[in-house]
Amino acid sequence: MTVRAEPFVVNLGPQHPSTHGVFRLRLTLDGERIIDADMVMGYLHRSMEKLAEERTYTQNIPFTDRTDYLAAMTGNLAYVIAVEQLCGIEPPERAQWLRTIMCELQRIASHCMAVGIFANDCGAWQTPVMHMLRDREKVLDLFEMACGARLTLNYMRIGGVSRDVPPEFMPAARKLIKELPKKLNEYEDLLLENEIIVERSRGIGVLTPEQAMANSVSGPMLRASGVAWDIRKADPYAAYDKVDFDIAVGVHGDVYDRFVVRLAEMRQSVKILEQTLDLIPDGPVHAQLPTATVQPIDQPVAPLAIRPPVGEAYGRIESPRGELGFYLVSDGSPAPFRFHIRSPSYINLTPLKLMSVGGTVADAIVILGSVDIIVGEVDR
């Protein structure tokens, strides 16, 4: 005879302190054990893929800020890389390096949030996330210097970046990356060996490498499962082929490893930034676009009006959350015929049920926190 409580359904979300936005998780519970998990999404669905078909390629860049709003730079970059592939544009050298700098700064900012919020999900009452927000703010200050915005940056352009960074940017960035390792030590001291965090996250939500790959999981989650796969290394874009860094890999595939991998990646980002700030060449930051096909009547040539040739392209980069891909189909008109975002947040949710069934409600929260979703990117 087994004593079982009546299974009952708990809705986590859409309004819930730790669903990271308006995401809803329907858990069927037996006591506190999860016997079924169902995801309900779409509360933030803004139909970006349809909207993008009504706008020119350049006009679509701001949309990419608003998918993954904690990593707008990488969203921008993935999209412009896809368009550049479609048109065959090669951005100038300095633009490539600036892209690298911005993406790594963005990775630090995004991982700060990911790790901090993860600690919050573990129940650390705001303290780690507040400390991490402090460093994220400093990164956002740099972004503000470079492009005037802090969150929705809209910095990348097709063929380069919107403008060169001001002269005071580089010293400020140097200062930041000089103090970041100390802060990272602090976080590692605070969180990495924290008995409660280790207890809460070790052996929870385990994905073997086979499961992770089969479920199309990417980014820190895939690496936490022990798979050394990083598009920056595997298929270098921007200036990643010219800098030296390591892929941080976990060995257990559990929640703790995802968190460890993110912390290690922040260190690698600092390492990349140190190199880029020394190596960045001078020069133009924007390529001359092939505007010959565009001849608006009664108007001067619009330099950013792009009409890519008929074809399709899949551009992908390593965003802080994983493989961010843009699949563009052009029919020769100034707007994309099909604009598809392969969003890592969304696809990383695929094995959520696999990971959380058998755990408790508290585990489900921690697992969801370790996936590090941005609902803007899940729903688009």
């Binding site: 402090r134 990495l192 409660i196 408790t360 508290a362």
Partner: protein, 417 residues
């Protein structure tokens, strides 16, 4: 050792009250009048003190945690935000007391009141000073536990009557937790009572003052057990499982708003003060401080100790993440319970030794202190080791760094911290 003192001897406010009562008796009032008056004075004083302390500590906690989290905290209402708690209280008072439609209305309304009673009744037996105790019960220690256990009922009433799944989960978690930790509490307090030989809190304070040693030095395991079970009882992180914000929104008081929520909030603080007061009384010498109480009012010493202990809980709240319910229960049953049992046995043995071998207190107490601290350290470390604290799969580690794309490192030994 009752000091016969004049009414203006504010080292113990009991003197003042006592003089007043004598005055009343002199006027020829019947016997029950001073009895009732003294009760009323005590009740009003305790209520006033708790309300003021709670208001002060709301502000202090928010500012202190703000400092810990490198932000400012409330600083708008009044100088340095001092009036923020008042503003909060006013806001709670003026808010509409919403009762959800499907709630069990009677229990829903009753719960905040019921939760308030046991937490405040605890202070009736706490000696704030030598004569400053409302009811110095014979069975004071047992009374503390008994009243503490009533909290459970109120919290369950709140969780059940809200008709909300988060609230119900929170209530169930509270009950499971409190029942486990009450056991620990009983055991550690048993050890203290056994050693002192009285359940009256005043006697325990007097014992510590008489021998000039705090029980904290003699019973470290007991103190540990009480601090942990106290944290559980007052629902603060790392054990705020019953109202785990990131999991079940606010647990049993999810559906409460307005002043009903205010009651829960205040009861939580009061429970914290109560735990701190018990720790101070039992383990830290209460209102005495090795003779300093002759110069400084004992109740000020008591309050200073109490706030100091409470600060530890604020600190832990600002630092530690939350345990999972099964881990907390495992900690209670697998770790604290055996340790407390061993503690009871050791303390009992020592008491027996002290009596039978006719040791003087100067010989016995330092010996016991050294032995108990050594035993505590050995037991904690050893038992943690037995339970697999250092097993490789539970050790923190770092990420493997590699340059090789596509390699799979799953299951490799990872570099440890």
């Amino acid at each position: 050792m009752i000091r016969l003192a004049e009414w203006y001897d504010f080292r113990d406010l009991g003197n003042t009250v006592g003089s007043l009562l004598d005055q009343i008796r002199d006027w020829g009032a019947p016997d029950w009048v001073p009895y009732v008056v003294s009760g009323l004075i005590g009740v009003v004083a305790i209520l006033l003190w708790t309300v003021l302390s709670v208001l002060a500590f709301i502000w202090i906690e928010r500012r202190v945690v703000g400092l810990m989290q490198n932000r400012i905290g409330p600083n708008r209402v009044g100088p340095n935000g001092l009036l923020q708690p008042v503003a909060d209280a006013l806001k709670l008072l003026f808010k509409e007391p919403i009762t959800t439609r499907e709630a069990d209305r009677i229990l829903f309304w009753l719960a905040p009141i019921v939760v308030f009673v046991p937490t405040i009744v605890v202070f009736a037996v706490i000696p704030f000073g030598e004569r400053m105790v409302l009811a110095d019960l014979n069975v004071g220690v047992l009374f503390l536990i008994a009243v503490g256990s009533l909290n459970t009922i109120a919290i369950f009433m709140a969780g059940w009557s809200s008709n909300n799944k988060y609230a119900l989960i929170g209530a169930m978690r509270t009950i499971a937790m409190l029942i486990s930790y009450e056991l620990i509490q009983v055991l550690v307090l048993l050890a203290a009572v056994l050693f002192v030989g009285s359940m009256r809190l005043g006697d325990i304070v007097a014992w510590q003052a008489g021998y000039g040693v705090w029980l904290l030095f003699l019973q470290p395991l007991g103190l540990l057990g009480y601090i942990v079970s106290g944290a559980v009882e007052m629902n603060r992180s790392p054990t705020d499982i019953a109202e785990a914000e990131s999991e079940i929104v606010a647990g049993y008081h999810t559906e409460y708003g307005g002043i009903k929520f205010g009651f829960f909030y205040q009861a939580e603080y009061l429970a914290g003060f109560a735990i701190a007061a018990v720790i101070v009384t039992l383990y830290m010498g209460g209102w005495t401080l090795w003779g300093v109480e002759d110069w400084v009012p004992g109740w000020l010493i008591f309050l200073a100790k109490l706030y100091g202990v409470f600060f530890i809980y604020i600190w832990s709240r600002g630092t530690l993440p939350r345990l999972r319910i099964d881990q907390l229960m495992a900690f209670a049953w697998k770790f604290l319970l055996p340790l407390s049992l061993v503690n009871v046995i050791i303390i009992g043995g020592e008491k027996l030794l002290w009596q039978e071998a006719e040791l003087s207190s100067g010989e016995a107490l330092p010996l016991f202190a050294v032995v108990n601290w050594a035993v505590a350290v050995v037991l904690i470390v050893g038992w943690a080791w037995v339970l697999g604290h250092q097993r490789p799969e539970r050790v923190a580690h770092r990420a493997v760094l590699t340059q090789e794309v596509g390699a799979i490192h799953f299951g490799e030994p990872a570099p440890t911290v």
